[in-house]
Symmetry: C2
Subunit: 392 residues, 2 copies
Amino acid sequence: MSAPPFDAAHLDRLMDEAGIDVLLATSKHNVQYLLGGHRALFFDYMDAIGVSRYLPAFVYPKGQPDRAAYIGHRIEGHQVQVAPLWPNTVQTKSWGATDSIEKAMAHVHGQGLSSGRIGVEMAFLPAISAETLRAAAPNAMVIDAAPMLDRLRACKSEHELSLLREASERVIDSMLAVLAAHGPGSTKREMAEALRREETDRGMQFEYCLIAAGKSHNRAPSDHRWEKGDVLSLDSGGNYRGYIGDIARMAILGSPDAELEDALAEIETVQRAAFAPVRPGVLGGEIYAGAEAALKKCKFKPIEFVAHGMGLATHEVPHLTSRGPTPYPDDDARRPLEPGMVLSVETTLMHPKRGFIKLEDTVAVTRAGFEVFADRARGWNRGADVAARPAA
Amino acid sequence: MSAPPFDAAHLDRLMDEAGIDVLLATSKHNVQYLLGGHRALFFDYMDAIGVSRYLPAFVYPKGQPDRAAYIGHRIEGHQVQVAPLWPNTVQTKSWGATDSIEKAMAHVHGQGLSSGRIGVEMAFLPAISAETLRAAAPNAMVIDAAPMLDRLRACKSEHELSLLREASERVIDSMLAVLAAHGPGSTKREMAEALRREETDRGMQFEYCLIAAGKSHNRAPSDHRWEKGDVLSLDSGGNYRGYIGDIARMAILGSPDAELEDALAEIETVQRAAFAPVRPGVLGGEIYAGAEAALKKCKFKPIEFVAHGMGLATHEVPHLTSRGPTPYPDDDARRPLEPGMVLSVETTLMHPKRGFIKLEDTVAVTRAGFEVFADRARGWNRGADVAARPAA
């Protein structure tokens, strides 16, 4: 066995608090985390196979990393040969959502834990797999382990921070490349597709591009054209080796007038006010307090502010608010920030006449305070004078 | 309401046979099919959000398309504005795996069907969503609708066939572009990454690249270098607007000797023997019978043959074999092929000394017989004399 790539003592404590004897993780992102970056290449994009689906299964008995196991699909065997995994037991023989859990539960049974408390990911364990689990372990108590795993991932290692920094930088570089090649008459669809290609060319997995142009607040790609004088909002997620860059920047065709300069300056002020209190030991809620003080002084309306942890998933610990679109308890607002936590900070003005104006940044809590990743291109970026020929 | 984009009478018959009163589809691929191509862009790659996940929900009461509903995530609203969906009820207000099902079941309840037989996708309904469903409809009978949906999708429309044809063509074009730029010293990892970029540049979503070089049968990307005289097997899935191109082709650095020419010719012969019987009305099993007759005459060993339906998923109706890696009943082997069915046909020689030699093709059943998509580049393609500088 190699050493686990995560803090096993921390996982043991969290399992103890959650009353879990054995963890059975089945989401791609948590399995990737627990295996130190492994992800089945064949199923990276798609899960469906026949009438079943790919389902990786990672088993971890509390306090016994030497008895951990990974059950992968039979097509993962070659990958594991190239880059061996840390658990003592690695099987790449499964096919779908049923036999994967049968094999995982056989391992649990072999550890004498099938009558214990099994922590699963209730949103990432298929209903058919839950039935398989119950049949294999009728006396087990099943507990949702997702909140505990979310917390395990909260403080990023230096390596994880470097991937998140790279992800942000590469999203910004991609956006600037798109702006340099698009101008009057370019459609939102063309620009979103160009961003997909730019991110891919930079070694990322493109996730999405929300894009608004002109006065419209609609952020879906469409045949809507970007024209002279129009604002453009680019908001994109790009995945770099499992870690998300999630950045929003603004652009314009021509020059911004005083009102647009003022509007973006106010958004920038709110962002900076949110960053300012960030350091270890400060309560998470101080980020909102900082932003809200700045929001009160804003003359533009309506402005929305939101901040939330991010990393492997678009929303993770720390969860700072129960307001807005994120239905979490705001318990992390009352907990201290810790070094290695990473936050997405977003300020959006839905200007009734000028359009959708937004900045979104990724901020890491450092020992000394904070670091803003890709802290550039924050003003009015310019589109090209002439649009490049659209991609085929 | 617009007309459903699928054959609603066919769905009604299949639901009747399966004893389903109301369908609740929650997989991305089946929801996409039932909505005529809609897919939430924000969640195209990733499902996780916080400790829950994205879960689209499509509701269809048997025989009543006018009472169908789609429950999407709140971020899908802009997409639906740009491209309206056909059901009378479209809500884009959900967040995760629980509230999505609450809203879907409220619609089911409103149709008076919450005590009926509800067809779900057991491998794509999360355990937590199954609990939500049971709480909302304690008297309902839950039935797995996945096999029925698989069958609904079996015969592709002209539009679907055109997407599958494009997908195959673009995968081949991408492979040829990779071969033109890679040669002695190129690693499998560099070539797999280059293929990802080539497919992306052709408007596809890259899915995977299995790649073997030299004598090794290992098909995972790695630092293994392609060198003069080495065979190279490229096997890639690329997704074009939801439809899969899945092709394998061979290449070599230098010129193939007589043994390699013979080996690939035998594989080609098996492929053609499998295609030959394909036409409407012929039993699916004839494909295997054709291939097996050819296999008996092969001098190279071991050769594996497999054929299976494909389209939105890598394995779908017709399921032709219970042998090999596909644990299905081979019932479609005893059913007639129908126009619009699409098959993936694969022949692989694991040559003990020369390496991994494979052809994989996509074949559609036409009214007159069959059509092989991207029927080219089937021989020994050549790599470049000099490798291009690897992509950053």
